[in-house]
């Protein structure tokens, strides 16, 4: 007789005492087929809790016998509760467990059926069917004989129960009368595990879009061989997330394609809602074909060869019915990624049951809405482990990364895209649908587009929140900062729809200057980058104005699409507030729009919008009030105070040596005050007309279909130059590339020249926009401010040696952390915007950056 044991689950041994359960298991251990730790025996647990394996309560005085029997019952109860806890733990961990006890009564066995259901593992019974004589014979020989009466009693029960066992719902029941004639085999690997070997390309919902599928496979590098099979030269395989059929044009052709490729071990496919429906239909079940499934039946009708079709139907039925609920991809045996159609719970991963199949097919759903469509619940929020889950089923405009899950159903059948996720490379490859094949109502991509600008759900933010960023992983925003930021967004910022990006803060040099008379110097910035393995850097002149984000639309209709109202754009500050008054903004937007249109910018770049990050000058444009009430006021007070004192001391000094010292001191202080007054005026000029405004863009963040974080800063600077040629409002920014020591010297000299002329300073960046060192993000930019400029930051006397010494003890750690997080949040938000994700998802990043900025940092940094 052959016994096949599952990979994981419960193996229940059934039989009276002396039927040979333990002996049989011992044989298996000896043969190396099972491990001692896989056996849970009630006898062993009795010993563990009480030191006693057996109590004989028969043949005693009645009172003694009763007492012993009570003891035995208590010990058994404790032993069983521990034993069951252990079994449940092993089930949760998806292990195989042999339970060695008599299991004569139905209630004893029912417990395990329940465990199996609860933990989604199969239960198998091995029934040791030995006749009574043998049992009695064996009992006499054992150390603690149970006694004839008890054995006979047990056998009676066993005989009665035997015929019911099969119907109790086990995966398999084996009756063993002779253990020597039994062959045991077991599955040693999880059937849901797939080793990635040369790589796997996971493909989203195809829905019969055969042409797009072929195009995608070709794009992924698969080549058609002589047998019409698509094979990858590097041995990669492709894996479908299900729903390969229904709704689209060529369901049957697509199903046959997968049938052959899976049979040839070139591809994999998992179960799905449509797949299951078709499988049951093919199986002759009474199902109603709707939601595009009726098109599959239509396909079969069109099929000419009637004989072949029955054969194909049969093959497809088997193929679809046995498609696994999900696959777990492993790297050298270690699970790293899960593929499922509609969703999965963490505790389901690697297990099989009807409940799991159901969940993987339909996701987490709760009733239906007014139009009869299922209300989908968000299962992704419950995903807690590090395993990446790739899923489809619910069409999103672009791959949607949430909480370590990726949705790659981009609704090809609805006119969207067919996406592949290359693993382990983690790259997306997509092809555009040739058309919208499902011209029905409720196109989910359209619905999403319509809802894109819906106001963000405040519940997601008010308790504090976490943003998953591609560049820096999870970024936590604590509740207190979230609340004050929501307050600010509710009062002061431009509307949420237009507030798509907040620029990150920037750290000054990580170390202060080693030179005696400097607080900051380019050397420390360059050294920082060299120590981070950056060889090529770009040094850009840093303008002194106010940061401005320009979200510029091709026309006002595009404005309606992106921000919900007809407008040519929006310009806002780094706190999210409108940069100009409405009238000026309107004027500037039209002016820029005309210039860009005149240069055919939008058409040439095939974009609906341009998002840029810029410095807008002069400083007084935004800061006139601050300059007048703070900087000018301080300058006047300082010069008045110091000037009067200088004169007074001078008039009394005569030959007094001590007064002469005070005089020198006040002459210097007066000079400092004059430098201060001079410096802040450098960044100010009268604005009588728009032309006096200067906009210096330094990052072209995005067009409607792409971001530019993959472009080097030299590209961004050249683009900026191009803008300055299109409109006089845009000004070019000087920059230099640092390659070697000679360049370094040149940059330092340049910095020295422009800053002694009063310019703010320079910004040094790695040439690549997103730079990493040993896999970790490094500062995207470091500012190096000039000696003169710093008078208006650190105070007019900051260079006095006793002041500078103390000021050099600054710490930029927190500033740098903020800079990195805000940088990652910024990129993430724009990526989401470009992917057509909801404004709520974009807002999450924006709110995150704004909240980071309400965490106080030394404002002088």
């Amino acid at each position: 007789m052959e016994i096949v044991l599952p990979y994981a689950g419960i193996v229940l041994l059934v039989g009276p005492s002396n039927s040979g359960k333990s002996t049989f298991l011992k044989q298996l251990i000896d043969k190396g087929q099972i491990l001692p730790s896989e056996i849970i025996s009630s006898d062993e647990f009795r010993v563990r809790v009480s030191n006693l394996e057996f109590i004989d309560w028969a043949h005693r005085w009645k009172d003694v016998s009763e007492s012993l029997y009570n003891d035995y019952q208590r010990i058994s109860a404790e032993a069983f509760s521990l034993m069951e806890a252990t079994i449940e733990a092993r089930c949760r961990l998806n292990k195989l467990t042999f339970v060695d006890a008599t299991h004569l009564y139905p209630d004893d066995r029912k417990r395990y059926i329940e465990f199996g259901k609860k933990h989604h593992v199969p239960v198998v019974t091995l029934v040791l069917d030995v006749n009574q004589d043998v049992l009695l014979e064996r009992d006499k020989k054992r150390e603690n004989p149970r006694g004839t009466k008890r054995i006979k009693q047990q056998y009676q029960v066993f005989k009665r129960e035997k015929r019911f066992i099969k119907k109790e719902g086990y995966l398999e029941t084996y009756f063993i009368s002779d253990t020597n004639e039994t062959e045991v085999s077991r599955r040693n690997s999880n059937p849901l595990y797939l080793e990635i070997e040369n790589g796997i390309d996971i493909i989203g919902d195809i829905h019969g879009c055969y042409d797009e599928m072929i195009q995608l496979l070709e794009q992924l590098g698969y080549e058609k061989n002589a047998e019409e099979l698509y094979v990858h030269p590097e041995g990669r395989k492709f894996l479908s997330l299900g729903d390969i059929m229904s709704r689209g044009p060529e369901s049957l052709k697509t199903m046959s394609f997968f049938l052959h490729h899976v049979n040839e071990n070139l591809a994999y496919m998992i179960d799905s809602n449509h797949g299951w429906k078709i499988a049951r239909w093919l199986d002759g079940k009474n199902v109603t074909l709707a939601h595009g499934d009726e098109l599959v039946a239509e396909d079969f009708k069109q099929y000419k060869d009637k004989e072949k079709i029955e054969q194909l139907k049969h093959e497809l039925k088997t193929f679809l019915l046995k498609a696994p609920s999900h696959y777990v991809l492993t790297k050298q045996g270690i699970p790293t990624l899960v593929c499922t159609h509609a969703g999965i719970k963490d505790e389901f991963i690697g297990k099989q049951s009807d409940d799991i199949s159901d969940f993987c097919r339909y996701g987490d759903h709760e009733g239906v809405n007014e139009t009869g469509r299922p209300i989908r619940k968000d299962w992704t929020i419950h995903h807690k482990t590090s395993t990446l889950i790739v899923w489809g089923h619910d069409p999103k405009p672009k791959p949607l990364v949430i909480n370590n899950t990726i949705n790659i159903d981009q609704g090809v059948v609805f006119g969207g895209e067919l996406t592949a996720f290359r693993y382990p490379e983690k790259e997306f490859v997509a092809v555009q649908a040739k058309k919208d094949y499902y011209e029905g109502l409720n196109n989910p991509l359209m619905e999403l587009k319509k809802k894109r600008l819906n106001p963000p759900n405040i519940a997601k933010f008010i308790g504090g929140f976490t943003v998953s960023t591609n560049e820096l992983g999870q970024i936590k925003i604590p509740k207190e900062y979230a609340l004050s930021t929501i307050d600010s967004v509710s009062h002061y910022t431009v509307p949420i729809e237009g507030l798509v990006y907040i620029p990150p803060t920037m750290s000054p040099t990580p170390a202060v200057s080693a030179l005696k008379n400097y607080l900051e110097h380019p050397k420390e910035a360059i050294d920082y980058y060299r120590s981070m393995g950056v060889e090529r850097m770009v040094a850009e002149k840093k303008h002194m104005g106010s940061r401005g984000i320009l979200f510029l639309f091709k026309d006002s209709e595009v404005g309606r699409k992106y921000v919900g109202r007809e407008t040519l754009g929006v310009i806002y500050t780094r706190t999210g507030r409108r940069f100009f008054d409405m009238a000026t903004e309107g004027e500037i937007l039209s002016r820029i729009n005309e210039s860009l249109t005149a240069n055919d910018y939008f058409n040439k770049h095939n974009t609906e919008f341009l998002l840029m990050d810029a410095e807008i000058m002069p400083w007084n444009l935004k800061a006139k009030e601050l300059i007048s009430s703070q900087y000018a006021h301080v300058a006047e007070n300082a010069i008045l105070d110091r000037g009067l004192l200088k004169d007074k001391i001078e008039s009394a000094a005569g030959s007094n040596v001590d007064l002469a010292k005070w005089l020198k001191e006040y002459e210097d202080k007066l000079a400092n005050a004059r430098v201060f007054k001079d410096v802040f005026q450098k960044y100010c000029w009268e604005i009588n007309e728009i032309d006096q405004i200067q906009i210096a863009p330094f990052h072209i963040l995005a067009h409607s279909h792409e971001t530019f974080f993959n472009k080097p800063h030299t590209w961004h600077m050249e683009m900026n130059k191009a803008f300055s040629l299109m409109d006089r409002l845009f000004v070019e920014t000087e920059y230099m590339v640092i390659n070697d020591r000679a360049d370094e010297e040149e940059v330092i000299q340049w910095w020295g020249e422009i800053t002694s002329d009063g310019h703010e300073g320079i910004v040094i960046k790695p040439e690549t926009f997103i730079s990493k060192y040993k896999g970790r993000l490094i500062q995207p930019a470091i500012k190096v401010r000039g000696r003169k400029y710093l008078h208006i930051i650190y105070g007019m006397d900051y260079l006095e040696p006793e002041n500078l010494t103390r000021l050099k003890k600054r710490n930029v750690g927190k500033k740098q952390k903020h800079a990195l997080k805000e940088f990652a949040l910024g990129i993430e938000g724009i990526q989401r915007l470009i992917n057509g994700e909801s404004i709520e998802r974009v807002h999450e990043c924006v709110l995150g950056t704004l909240a980071m900025e309400s965490d106080p940092v030394d404002p002088r940094l």
Partner: protein
């Protein structure tokens, strides 16, 4: 920060004894890093000039600032302007003169008036030149004011905000200094230390013999003591707050609340109410006493307003029949499922604070998602501004618009895209036959299905 005392006339060199400073020496003391310095620039039988000034340590000065996370705590006038800090710094150096306790021999001179000139500054004050004159002239001084330089390359300001004051008159050194020690902090309107009862004693001591007769006594005390409680220690009776044209407006506020409460009372379904933009909770508090109301959601994004509201509710929470409003952090720009399907939603004077083009989306969420049985919406009636004598501009600087009755009614009807509501309009406040009432209200009532 500096003070120069100049005396002329007979025996004026006695001043050095009253100050207890040797005119031949420079005085320099280090007060927690700041240098307090004094020198005589003139010293003859009939002319004495002494200057006391502070060279502060700017870093030490900014370190204890409570606003350490704002750039203005590092770049500010505190290290230059005369202020309470200055008075604290120089108090010890001028102790003898202030207390009138020179060596016994010179005691008779303490009460001897000299022809004195006090010049000090820079003064950073919100007060106008005339207000400055009004502070010093009643004390018998001739007052001269000079200004800092405003030679900027662009037009930041016409007149400098740094001033230097010179007082001239016949007075004793002690009186002159005591007056300055009271008035310099009053000018500066900024105090660097915690003001407590001791301050009251100080004012009483330094103010002796002149403050009670000063026509601006009350103003000086208020500014010097800053906090109402302290002020009341000196001035037992409470002086009513200045009230100008705010009165009709606050009455209108009450009228609005009254009307809304009355309207709510008339509604059959009033168990759950959402008060959007509840601010400091005035309306929600009143709704808490309405019969039949079981739940009030007071929605407000501002933390400071919410705190104020909480204090207000806590004052009445013990009262009978009061339903404590539930504070909900939120705003019209976010979606909040807690606000769905309530009986009544109220937007009292809210919409005019929102840019007009953002309103349709908000109204769609309210009418199609939140779906209250009744929505009450109030906003100013722009026509009525004529009654206030306003020809243009809005009633509040934050208003983004103010609508005529026709504009409001047309707009309201347009918002009910799905035609699920009956809309009626009413006025609140005293009615003018041509211009209507100051406030207008729309009542959206959901049609029963």
């Amino acid at each position: 920060m500096q003070l120069t005392i100049r005396g002329t006339g007979q025996d004026v060199n006695v001043l050095s004894y009253l100050l207890a400073k040797n005119p031949n020496n420079l005085y320099e003391r280090n007060v927690s890093g700041h240098l307090v310095r004094m020198f005589f620039s003139k010293f003859t039988d009939d002319e004495v000039e002494v200057t006391i000034f502070v060279t502060p340590d700017p870093i030490e000065l900014s370190r204890n600032n409570s606003e350490a996370y704002d750039i203005t705590s590092y770049i500010n006038d505190r290290e230059f302007a005369v202020s309470s800090i200055f008075c604290t710094f120089i108090r010890t150096a001028l102790g003898t003169a202030l207390n009138g306790k020179p060596t016994e021999e010179y005691e008779p001179w303490v009460n001897h008036p000299f022809s004195l000139q006090f010049s000090f500054g820079p003064v950073a004050s919100q007060l106008t030149d005339n207000e400055l004159l009004d502070l010093f002239q009643p004390l018998g001084y001739d007052v001269a004011i000079t200004y800092g330089e405003v030679d900027y390359r662009m037009d930041f300001k016409r007149v400098s905000t740094a001033r230097y004051i010179t007082l001239e008159g016949m007075t004793t050194l002690q009186m002159g200094l005591r007056q300055l020690f009271v008035l310099i902090p009053v000018l500066d309107n900024y105090k660097h230390y915690y003001i407590d009862e001791k301050e009251v004693g100080k004012i009483e001591r330094y103010g002796e013999g002149w403050l009670d007769q000063h026509p601006l006594r009350e103003f000086i005390l208020r500014r010097a003591l800053r906090f109402e409680e302290l002020y009341n220690l000196v001035e037992k009776q409470t002086v009513p707050e200045l009230k100008t044209e705010t009165e009709p407006k606050s009455r209108l506020n009450d009228l609005r609340y009254e009307r809304i409460v009355r309207r709510v009372n008339q509604l059959n379904f009033r168990e759950s109410i959402v008060d959007f933009g509840s601010g400091e909770g005035k309306l929600s508090e009143k709704l808490g006493f309405v019969d039949g109301v079981k739940e009030i959601l007071a929605v407000e994004p501002s933390e400071s307003e919410n705190l104020k509201a909480l204090k207000r509710y806590e004052k009445v929470v013990q009262k009978e029949n009061f339903v404590m409003p539930k504070q909900v952090m939120g705003s019209l720009f976010y979606y909040d499922e807690r606000l769905k399907n309530k009986d009544i939603m109220i937007l009292c004077e809210v919409i005019e604070h929102i840019d007009e083009d953002r309103l349709p989306k908000i109204m769609r969420i309210i009418l199609q998602e939140y779906r209250p049985r009744v929505l009450l919406l109030t906003t100013p009636n722009q026509e009525y501004n004529a009654v206030y004598g306003m020809d243009e501009g809005y009633r509040h600087p934050d208003h983004r618009f103010e609508w005529t009755r026709e504009e409001f009614q047309t707009w309201s009807k347009k918002q009910d895209e799905e035609s699920k509501y009956d809309i009626s309009f009413e006025g609140i406040g005293e009615e003018h036959e041509q211009y209507g009432t100051p406030t207008q209200m729309a009542v959206f009532t959901r049609r029963e299905v």
